[in-house]
């Protein structure tokens, strides 16, 4: 694995059995993530987009070793330590937990209403035993709180006294207090108003640059991803269908699904021509995915080969990868 990479996933799959086999019919398995190859560079802001049900949250959790990895490998290397996430357990897993953290979507549900902000932020340090005295804990809490623009007065209060934006800053402080190298932010701005969203996005970017973190930013909002991420991967029904540096992806999307997603974003220009490539129907159920290309049921260009053979993710140019039988024919 190259030294530039923090995470390298090969053929990563996450399957959830939802009904056992035997008396009540055949076993039913949800293939939430299937055969994903993914490289995340150190210090990058990696975006993961897709509709609900595409498996982006599960993929994020698998990289945090918070979802069971059914097949494939995930390597983590931050220069100090290396972990093989398929085999990790015990002490090594504990170490990985302090290095890889998660920021949740809903800042109203993620914070215990019965703990003060200081206790909420200090909890990871105490659970992981990263500090030896209360003074040291307090110092680390104050330090990270300041970085997240929370003041000392805030630390004594309870979450109910805070607005959505402030709560999200508390969740961010809690995720960062253990000094992680890798942070997964799962729809972390989806529940916020635009102005607060801008504030939190700026804060995340600032912290990432200051602390040299690597972020995986999961979102369904393409315009947010376009603004904050360096590299974007698009998921559909458990597969990566396209992955490219942000500018390239937004300037020259190759996969028909990415094109449709981009054109479906409502433009701020009231007179913008209605060029949306309308997708018919909805994402199929992952318990019963279509054969061949997973997108063929909604793809306007699907032919027989799409219905039989699943396209592999291939390099189209440089770092731009796409999984479509016809990407070359569809280039404008």
């Amino acid at each position: 694995m190259s030294d530039d990479l923090l995470i390298e996933a090969r053929d990563l799959s996450v399957h959830f059995p939802i009904r056992g086999g035997g008396l009540f019919g055949p076993a039913v398995v949800v293939r939430a993530v299937e055969g994903v190859n993914l490289d995340i560079e150190k210090g990058s802001f990696f975006g993961l987009v897709g509709e609900s049900g595409s498996g982006k949250t599960t993929l994020g959790r698998a990289l945090l070793k918070a979802a069971p990895i059914s097949r494939g490998s995930v390597q983590y290397n931050d220069g100090e330590v290396q972990h093989d996430l398929t085999k990790i357990d015990g002490k090594a897993l504990k170490d990985y937990r302090s290095r890889a953290q998660l920021i949740f979507q809903d800042p109203y549900a993620a914070l215990s209403p019965r703990m003060t902000v200081r206790d909420i932020i200090a909890e990871p340090l105490e659970v992981m035993g990263l500090t030896s005295s209360r003074e040291e804990t307090d110092e680390r809490v104050r330090e990270i709180a300041a970085k997240c623009r929370l003041n000392l007065e805030h630390l004594r209060r309870f979450p109910h006294a805070f607005s959505g934006g402030q709560r999200q800053r508390i969740s961010i402080a809690r995720a960062l207090v253990s000094g992680p190298r890798f942070v997964v932010a799962d729809e972390s701005v989806a529940a916020l108003d635009v102005s607060i969203q801008a504030d939190v996005l700026n804060l995340l970017k600032e912290i990432q640059q200051e602390m040299g973190l690597t972020f995986m930013f999961i979102s369904h909002d393409l315009s947010v991803v376009a603004h904050i991420c360096d590299h974007v991967a698009v998921m559909y029904l458990g597969r990566l269908v396209e992955s490219a540096p942000t500018r390239e992806l937004f300037a020259a999307p190759r996969h028909p699904y990415t094109k449709a997603l981009l054109s479906a974003i409502p433009s701020l220009d009231p007179d913008a021509p209605n060029i949306a490539q309308k997708l018919e129907g909805e994402i199929p159920s992952p318990t019963n995915p279509p054969p061949g290309c997973k997108f063929q049921t909604r793809c306007p260009y699907a032919t027989d080969i799409c219905r039989k053979e699943e396209p592999k993710l291939e390099h189209s140019s440089g770092e731009h990868e796409v999984a479509c039988h016809y990407w070359q024919d569809l280039m404008d």
Binding site: G165, F250, A264, L279
Partner: protein
């Protein structure tokens, strides 16, 4: 165009243990038949309460100011909604002349009654159709909103439908009584972009076909730009700017509207930094004196803003803004 709705000086306070809380303050607007009016603002700005007032659907601790006047112009004469007291009188507007679509369709359908039975029930309450005719009309409507195999869906329950399908069923149900006014409260917020595009298209078609007026509540200015004819921007219970969509989005006048647009990530310019509106929305218990926005305004003129409530100034045809910057003779 024919006038459908007149709202004058809508003022509404909620009685709570902590005192009277102003939720809507002196809001006035008009709506023509076939017009889509967008109502934008952050959470807590009073947009949902404003919309619910049109049916007097707010909680029982709501106190309407006596100057409030809401008149709905129906074929057989105007209805003064504030004078309707009993729920029997209000039935004419609630679900009859006015229908409402909510953000979360799963929470709006009864989970243990089939979609069809719920549709038939409302038709029987509001029209003189018999059960057989009501069923026919319901299936027709489901078909009309693009639900395939409508007669099967008619018998199903809300949990058996996907998110986009549920929202379509909600729209079918809301429109089956042929309302004159439709209130759509964040109808696409919980949906994926591709499904959002489908629902927006559907609503546009239905406006043309049925010629009803729509009050469209959302925090997404892109959705407003693509659906609405006119827009009112709300901040802390007051309308701060209103006008046609083109005027307000292309030439925003109020510092708050400008702030909202500057905070919005746009795909056209990925390098533009996102600028949040500084500070947080004040608590409704602690409303600033003078202009409600003066505590966060970057163009604050000083004493006049924190002392006097700005009047509306007309900046173009129907484009009005409530800001001292536009008041002639205001102290600079």
């Amino acid at each position: 165009m024919t006038r459908l709705l007149d709202v004058e000086n809508l003022t509404l306070k909620f009685k709570t243990d902590e005192g009277l809380i102003t939720a809507v303050d002196n809001v006035s607007f008009t709506l023509e038949a076939g017009e889509v009016m967008g109502l934008v603002g952050e959470s807590g700005s009073g947009k949902s309460v404003t919309a619910k007032s049109l049916m007097k659907l707010n909680a029982s601790n709501a106190v309407y100011d006596e100057r409030t006047k809401i008149v709905l112009h129906l074929d057989d004469g105007p209805v003064d909604i504030m004078t309707l007291k009993s729920s029997k009188d209000l039935r004419v507007v609630r679900g009859g002349a006015i229908s409402m679509i909510f953000q979360e369709p799963m929470a709006s359908f009864a989970p243990a009654i089939s979609i069809g039975d719920q549709m038939v029930e409302q038709l029987q309450v509001h029209t003189d159709m018999n059960a057989k005719r009501a069923k026919e009309v319901s299936i027709e409507m489901l078909d009309r909103v693009g639900i395939s195999d409508a007669s099967t869906r008619f018998k199903q329950y809300a949990f058996e439908l996907s998110g986009g399908m549920r929202q379509r069923a909600m729209i079918a149900m809301a429109l089956s009584t042929r309302p004159k006014l439709l209130i759509a409260d964040e109808p696409t917020t919980a949906l994926d972009v591709t499904i959002q595009a489908q629902v927006i298209d559907l609503m546009k078609d239905l406006v043309t076909e049925f010629g009803m007026g729509i009050v469209f509540i959302t925090h997404d200015l892109g959705v407003i730009a693509q659906t609405a004819d006119s827009v009112a921007v709300m901040y802390l219970s007051r309308i701060v700017e209103q006008g046609t969509v083109r005027d307000v989005i292309r030439r925003p006048a109020h510092p708050y509207t400008k702030g909202l647009l500057a905070a919005l990530p746009s795909l056209d310019d990925l390098d533009r930094p996102l600028t949040p509106v500084p500070g947080d929305i004040p608590s409704p218990l602690d409303r600033p004196s003078g202009c409600v926005f003066n505590t966060r305004c970057s163009a604050n003129l000083g004493a006049v803003c924190s002392r006097d409530l700005p009047d509306f100034t007309t900046v173009a045809d129907s484009h009005r803004v409530a800001c001292h910057l536009f008041n002639e003779g205001a102290a600079k």
